[in-house]
Symmetry: C2
Subunit: 386 residues, 2 copies
């Protein structure tokens, strides 16, 4: 994202998932396609009330841990609450459409709904990055506040309206880690020539700060790190990183995360599909997405904590902190990237204005509340246990 | 809470709300009672499917900002999603039962459901404090992680099962402020003799740390502070505090909050009422509560931020930080109070063990994630604007 290369618009996470999904599901795909033709909403009139069948395509492999569970949760909640009147069939990336065609497929009514992340569609909708995460931006709690009580969701709806899409928050990973490094970073000098797999807007910022951002498909990351093709990579956080085994091929695990501080995933629903439902089922769709949205952050909060303990206790991972001058350089790089982002797109500028206003207020508030508390807890407790 | 005086078990917040509700709703109460007799679930068989009417009593005045909105949101979501097959009538404190009888009324099936906070029932269920908030404990994000993916909710259900109650998370205020003070606190010496309105477990801790905890009904707080009857008070946070006008009678607004770092409110449902519903309506009840749970934190995050700006810019409120030695003394006082709390109650000890294990893990994780990020943001951005 943030440059003109098509490949750069695809985050490596997505590329890995796409590859994995394509390989694993080619048989399933063929089977599904035989029964699906075009994915128009199935609408069956029945004695107990009309019933509906939806197809939801996602940018993740089927049942992918964490990220992929929001769609499964959504489907389960909708089915239970509607007593089966609305069934949502969830498809992994590549089963019906490739990951990077989720937006278009839902927009065009090929399918009814999708799950992914808004910043994947930045090429079409430059303002979309604000609805996922931006470097040094809002964390998960702050994003949810902005979206649901700060005007963010209304702007998101406005940005997607030309595409006949209704967006909803679809979960959060919380703060993502700065990533895995094979070189120790002691100052900004150590970024020079450092080849890091870091995609999209963050990659642009990393390059602005003096590093070399490269794009490598997720499936090749482990080997690339092992063979020295890259010096560093970022992924998600302990829960997902542990599963990929990056601790086996990388020397240090770096923090703090800076590039995706509270990534919000998204549900998108085709407006016609949504409006074809009776009002109770529409309400069920909106509320199921809201519940699935919180559920993902709850899961990541619990599982990241357990995975970090495993990384440290069982795998001897070495944690390192990014030095202040590196953080400062990344911040300067962010300012340059943001100016570029909003310069040519009035909607991006409009969303940025709303985001900034909320950001400044909530940052001030969290200086004396969440942030002040979580730091005070350390002052008071130190190495004691609760 | 935390001592044997009945009055101490009522937080002043509740007392204020109770007084307000009683005065304001005495007429409504009479009217409602005439139509309600006992509040058993109304179950009406109809052509389009059976329909149900529930009564939900709350510990807040009707439509109380923030805290009182979870019940209203829940009712609205349930009504919309069920197409009116389940209607939930929400009653403010004192309209059907006094605030402090919500637990018993739902337990006994006088009404179907309630909204309040688990720690109000500590006299009956000592472990209940862990399901709301404890001093220096989990913040809102961490509480939601523990409840929904760390075994917390299952323990809560176990603790309430003997009362025929099903509990669910019912919103969060986020970190509550340390409160309003008329004396500057520069060291632990300044706590000596300081008369602070601070109820419950936190009051016990405050006394352990050398202060004088007093209990005063919420409705008298403004005048008590104005006339010097008390030197300090705690309430909720900027959004609710601004509305009460404490900035008019108190010199300093103190942080960090330490006593209620992520208070979770609760929905309680009578088990028989829940099981009398068909499965789809049961799913609607559970999911509506989950959505309302997140909604409250989103609202507080946005409105606290706006209210703090007003307090500072328009009312010239002076923010002060509690010194480290005071935080340390409060922590020592917390340890004493916790030992006392779990000593005599096996269930409290069991819940504490689960809470501690999650706490230690998530605190370590947040040292390198949420906490590391929110501090790094300041290092990088400083006084710049996003």
């Amino acid at each position: 994202m943030g440059n003109t290369s098509l490949e750069r618009r695809y985050t490596p996470l997505i590329i890995l998932l796409l590859v994995a999904a394509l390989v694993a599901t080619i048989g399933l795909w063929a089977t599904e396609r035989a029964g699906s033709e075009r994915g128009e909403t199935q609408h069956i009139a029945a004695a107990g009330g009309d019933s509906y069948e939806w197809k939801m395509v996602t940018t993740w492999p089927k049942n992918f841990p964490g990220l992929g569970m929001a769609a499964e949760n959504f489907s389960k909640l909708v089915e239970e609450m509607s007593d089966g009147r609305l069934t949502v069939h969830v498809y992994g990336a590549g089963e019906l459409v490739p990951a990077m065609q989720v937006f278009d497929a839902v927009s065009q009514g090929v399918v009814d709904a999708g799950h992914g992340a808004a910043y994947y569609w930045k090429g079409k909708v430059p303002s979309a990055v604000f609805f996922t995460s931006i470097p040094f931006g809002l964390n998960a709690q702050e994003m949810n506040g902005w979206l649901h009580y700060g005007g963010g969701l209304e702007l998101w709806q406005e940005a997607y309206a030309p595409y006949n899409l209704v967006p909803m928050a679809g979960g959060s990973t919380g703060v993502q880690m700065a990533g895995w490094f094979n070189k120790e970073i002691n100052s900004i000098e150590d970024l020079k020539g450092l080849k890091m797999r870091i995609p999209g807007l963050a990659g642009e910022v990393f390059a602005n700060a003096g590093g070399t951002a490269v794009t490598i498909p997720g499936g090749e990351l482990y080997t690339s790190m092992q063979t020295g093709v890259i010096d560093a990579l970022e992924w998600v956080g302990p829960y997902n990183d542990l599963a990929f085994g990056f601790h086996e091929v990388a020397r240090y695990y770096y923090y703090p995360g800076w590039h995706e501080p509270g990534s919000i995933l998204e549900f998108v629903v085709n407006k016609d599909s949504l409006e074809a439902l009776p009002e109770d089922l529409q309400a069920i769709v909106v509320t199921a997405s809201r519940a699935a949205n919180q559920d993902m952050l709850d899961e990541y909060t619990a599982r990241n904590n357990a995975a970090l303990q495993s990384l440290i206790d069982e795998h001897g991972v070495q944690l390192r902190r990014l030095p202040d001058d590196v953080l400062l350089a990344l911040w300067k790089g962010t300012q340059v990237a943001m100016e570029k982002l909003v310069a040519d797109d009035p909607m991006a500028a409009k969303v940025y204005a709303s985001y900034r206003k909320f950001y400044q207020g909530v940052r001030n508030y969290h200086h004396i509340s969440e942030q002040a508390y979580i730091n005070a807890r350390d002052v008071a407790i130190g190495d004691d246990e609760l």
